[in-house]
Symmetry: C2
Subunit: 330 residues, 2 copies
């Protein structure tokens, strides 16, 4: 295992300390229990959005804490759910009096622990469960579809609505709508290596790829020979289209997400392939996002997400955001 | 070789097409010769900044074209200098009548071709050569020190000055000053693989790293056993400090740059180590930048850059910027 670390036990803490120090103008970090909140403190009278999940997917979720997006993020150890006390403490820290919305990726551990935190909640609260991964219907760590890179769109769009003063039920319903309008699929060219394990999570031959891989290295649809970028994009866009059934002329956000070990040059090449396929299918790419946002440690590969947009969600996507990983208009 | 590509010959073109499509609000791409300019066209009455170099370092330089930073970027093939006709055409496209400033990383091919382009120039022009890499005094492709991640600081700070109306000589002198105030050093845990070569540029054993590596995989100071992050950071910060000799209490920008194959989690951990070392040395980290900005294809590893800041360069760093890869205040 080749990693820039000091010890397996301190990876998360040291990485979060670095993150908080580098972005002290945007976030504040608490330890014991561990959570990240906006530097400015709770926002009075507005719904507070909290997400979380295992570490190893950076910048998700702590990188999305800030004005116009999340109010708090609770990172677990690498690929391990955070605990209910983290979410409970985060909720107490960001509660602005208008309710708490949990945004939870559909993995059994996350779902269970966020549910326990919800039971501990004193004020009004609601949950949005994301399950945008169209690759498989159930997986190693999930009953039902996995929540992957489409979670970013839910966090951004609902974050903008909360900032504008939307109430808890409006935020929850909007989150469900964005999740339902989002489809994702991934491909791995290599495995990731979890620091505590020290060896690759799975093995791929030099000429193989895993189509439909999960963001923890879970199996996808099939293991096949490495194909050309155009063919990979065609299978991914095809599967997403089949799931979303966009109307001709539908507007969409096209997101090509790197898993951590793939250079930007290849991500833009994949974007080029995917954008052409969208145009061929009559989908209008109204907005784009290319880069490493929902990663899987050092895995080589990428995912493609399409989020169908209406006038409201497009406007909320464009609204100002100031986080460590996503920033415009501020 | 495992890459998300269609063919080795079309990597650059397809990747640039994707980049231009994803950021059509910010940039415009020309082919034959290849260059990227701001979508808004030339800025009348202001100095125009042009940079360029081999591809494979994305988002450098095309990702830094936009308001408050570069006016044009000329990408060559992977790790290959662009040609003088690219710079000449780019200069004609962005000339606002106040002169052209070339920002050139110190590699023999780049230096020669930008010099030829300068000879072709019709109006006033000047050049800033960056050579911030403190690892080695000369290298495979350079007479003298290499220009690496510190180039970003030159482009950002001079870009802000040009935007504010600074004249050509002021921009040139400022660029020299920022370059002289910047020191960088890199470490590789793995080699990169150039698509046209198909095999790794160099070989590292499973327990080895290359201290002081160049951004094309050029040899560094020495090949040693993989060390802990704190020790790696200490050697890098030590070398940079020795070069810059900052006064006690000096303000600096601390930049941890990923080479393309290293996850953000490790980059923030390295930032944490480096920031502590700066504090120990009496350097005040006034600004931070962590992420993949000056990459080496899929190389695992990172570089650390320190840029000493004065009141003027700090203010120019903070000035609004709207590019694909760096954006704030817009």
């Amino acid at each position: 295992m080749k990693k820039l670390i000091n010890s397996v036990d301190s990876v998360l803490r040291e990485s979060l300390d670095g993150f908080a120090a580098a972005h002290a103008d945007i976030v504040k970090l608490s330890h014991d229990p561990t959570f990240v909140v906006r530097a400015g403190g709770p926002v009075k009278g507005k719904v507070a959005l909290i997400s979380g999940g295992g570490a190893g997917h950076e910048p998700l979720h702590a990188g999305f804490v800030g004005e116009g997006m999340l109010h708090a993020a609770c990172p677990g150890q690498v690929f391990t759910s955070p605990t209910p006390d983290q979410m409970h403490a985060a909720a107490a820290a960001v509660d602005g009096g208008a309710g708490i919305l949990f945004i939870v990726k559909n993995y059994a551990g996350d779902v269970m622990n966020f549910e326990m935190a919800a039971e501990l909640a004193e004020g009004p609260m609601a949950t949005v469960l994301t399950n945008d991964d169209v690759a498989v219907e159930k997986s190693t760590f999930s009953a039902g579809r996995r929540g992957v890179a489409g979670t970013l769109m839910v966090e951004k769009i609902v974050g903008a609505a909360a900032e504008a003063g939307a109430d808890l039920e409006t935020c929850r319903a909007l989150g469900e709508r964005v999740n339902a309008a989002s489809g994702s699929m991934g491909v791995a060219l290599t495995s990731c290596t979890v620091p505590a394990a020290g060896t690759p999570t799975f093995t791929l031959a030099d000429d193989e790829m895993e189509m439909g891989v999960g963001i923890h290295g879970e199996p996808g649809r099939r293991r096949v020979k490495l194909a050309q970028a155009d063919d990979i994009a065609a299978e991914m866009i095809g599967a997403i289209q089949q799931d979303l059934s966009p109307k001709a002329g539908a507007a969409a956000l096209l997101h090509v997400n790197g898993f951590g070990g793939t250079p930007l040059m290849e991500l833009y090449l994949m974007y080029n392939a995917a954008a052409k396929l969208c145009a061929d299918a009559g989908v209008v790419v109204a907005r784009s996002l290319v880069g490493n946002y929902t990663t899987s440690l050092d895995m080589a590969g990428c995912s493609i997400t399409l989020t169908l947009l209406d006038d409201e969600t497009l406007r909320l996507w464009d609204a100002p955001v100031k986080t460590a990983a996503l920033r415009w208009g501020c």
